[in-house]
Symmetry: C2
DNA sequence: TTGAAAGCGCTAACAT
DNA sequence: ATGTTAGCGCTTTCAA
């Protein structure tokens, strides 16, 4: 019969088992020697009373919440789900709870003493991209509070560990493939959002690949795609209307690649016969009705997992790993002009 | 200058402001009268010291964590992201933190005194579909602990508030459209996973619509689609190989509709000219390269939002609303045979 | 290996 | 309107 309402405390268990509360605590936390017989009695008492330790009391006494936080700007598929899955899995395996909070462009709420996530309620936090302003990062660092950045590098002079992916290398290989295998020379690039690091490095990779092939950058082949299907569609449509017709379009990400393909198809152009299109992220391959897209695989879930791993290390007082750069991988399908194998 | 490491406590603030800790507490919680002048001094002291109340101490003393939990089986796009967004938004607006945990088929971890979510660390929880075993629901209910079910109805004899959508009505209207507007009579249905409530009610809606039109159920037109693209594809392929060719296929959900369309196209059949296809959920409309799918819109994000609203009501001691049934809405596009308007 | 007891930082009576 | 103080339920020295 479960006891109703008023909760069972460690003192109840201690009484039931005929030991002190300290001993019960030791059995629960397994952090001090307890004789097998005693432990058994305690566990039986816990079971019998259906005792569950109060997280608040534990946290107050031990100064450990066993919680980690995730701060993001917004919950947006398709990128958010896999990274969250990685984080949740990592947290679960480390025996930590996961507290999540989105800023949703409400940085105002994140001020004063009402902070959503921080030392007052977690043992450490994960910050996804722009989930936290630099000022607060500075503050948390001064407290030596564990923070790990995801898909974002630390502000200058702050050495906060970051986990991200090889955007530049992935983009470079992708564009190199277009040049070397297909002989394309007029390769357009659709930029992602301003200030978005993934976007920045992908552009660098694009530039490096062109430079390596001695192909000059044509400014008119650079446009804003915003990592967004609609924006990319408009950008490509605008090109077409101006008579700009590249050999290939590197859309910046898969979302933009979708918009690119739509714009091309709407103009009666075939992909890849008339214009090749490549994306980045490899999140839409799941969608079978899209022309098989050549893209760069990004290990999104792994970023979450590695982020937790690093955070756990910091919490344990271990040496920080300044930068974890996860590998990206070229995924050749059909939209670049290759014949996909069956 | 922020103080490093050792955290600022309410006593520090009280001293700095020249008041008692009780007064500081009153200012923070705004739950008792404090003179404007005093409040100002306290706030200034809080600001100066960069004080942030310890969640653990607050929780221990007040027996409120200001946290709600979300329990799910797994984090799977595309359904999870919107519902999470609704929940997170609701929690944020209510000033509550959100703790999430997935069971991932590890019910074992959810036993003994190491429960991920419950009265020991939250003020109430949201259970998405099969996120929690019946036994634990019974236990939590006996404690009068606030629980709200999402996309799942309570076990017999347990009156736990639930929030879900009008699956039956949506399916009925959808099939009625196929019958009345298009005159289809051989309408196939692809079932979702066994024990999945959405699936169950959609089938009921399908049956009701057929019954209302005096069309007998043809057992061979019922198959298992598993709310899964691959499984649906196989099921439809199997039909085709057996020479079963329905007028229309209600795929159970959009995911299965995708597989259905693939199977049809692979067999050289056109949608909707040769076979009409309809889905449910309206999650893929975002994907522009798919033939515009006639489906039923499910307000996924609203389920999350309403779930939080109900949970907040329970936590505040309000009257429970046993069942919140959110409306679904028929979305006519092209895959049923209609001419979509521009 | 075990127990006693002093906090952890806050809230909520109860006084005044 | 404000202060005093007794806990909240645990962990963690310190002793034994």
């Amino acid at each position: 019969m479960p006891r109703a309402k008023s909760s069972v405390t460690i003192a109840d268990v201690a009484r039931e088992a005929g030991v002190s509360t300290a001993t019960v605590s030791r059995v629960i936390n397994e952090n001090a020697p307890v004789s097998a017989a005693t432990a058994m009695r305690v566990r039986a008492a816990i079971e019998r009373l259906n005792y569950r330790p109060s997280a608040a009391a534990r946290g107050l006494a031990s100064r450990r919440t066993h919680l980690i936080g995730l701060l993001a700007e917004e919950i947006s598929a398709p990128f958010f789900a896999p990274i969250l899955r990685g984080i949740e899995k990592g947290a679960r395996e480390a025996g930590l709870g996961l507290l999540i909070h989105c800023t949703q462009g409400t940085p105002a709420a994140n001020s004063g003493y009402r902070r959503p996530l921080g030392p007052h309620n977690t043992d450490g936090i994960l910050v996804f991209a722009g989930g936290l302003q630099e000022e607060e990062l500075v503050y948390l660092t001064s407290l030596e509070f564990p923070v790990v950045l995801l898909h974002r590098s630390p502000p200058d002079s702050l050495d906060i560990p970051a986990v991200t992916v090889e955007n530049k290398r992935g983009a470079r290989e992708l564009v190199r493939h277009l040049i070397e295998v297909h002989g394309y020379r007029r390769i357009a690039f659709l930029r992602g959002p301003e200030g978005h690091e993934d976007s920045y490095w992908r552009e660098q990779g694009y530039r490096e690949a062109l430079a390596a092939a001695d192909i000059p950058i044509e400014p008119q082949l650079l446009a804003y795609g915003g990592f967004d299907q609609k924006i990319a569609q408009q950008a490509v449509t605008a090109w077409l209307e101006q008579g700009v017709k590249p050999d290939a379009i590197f859309a910046g990400d898969d979302e933009a690649a979708t918009g690119t393909i739509m714009a091309l198809q709407a103009a009666g152009l075939r992909v890849p016969e008339d214009v090749a299109v490549v994306g980045f992220d490899d999140v839409y391959l799941a969608h079978p009705l899209m022309p098989p897209l050549t893209t760069v695989h990004v290990p999104i879930e792994a970023v979450g997992r590695e982020g937790v791993r690093e955070l756990v290390r910091l919490i344990a007082g271990g040496e920080p790993e300044p930068l974890t750069l996860l590998p990206t991988e070229l995924v050749i399908r059909r939209s670049c002009g290759c014949q996909e194998e069956a």
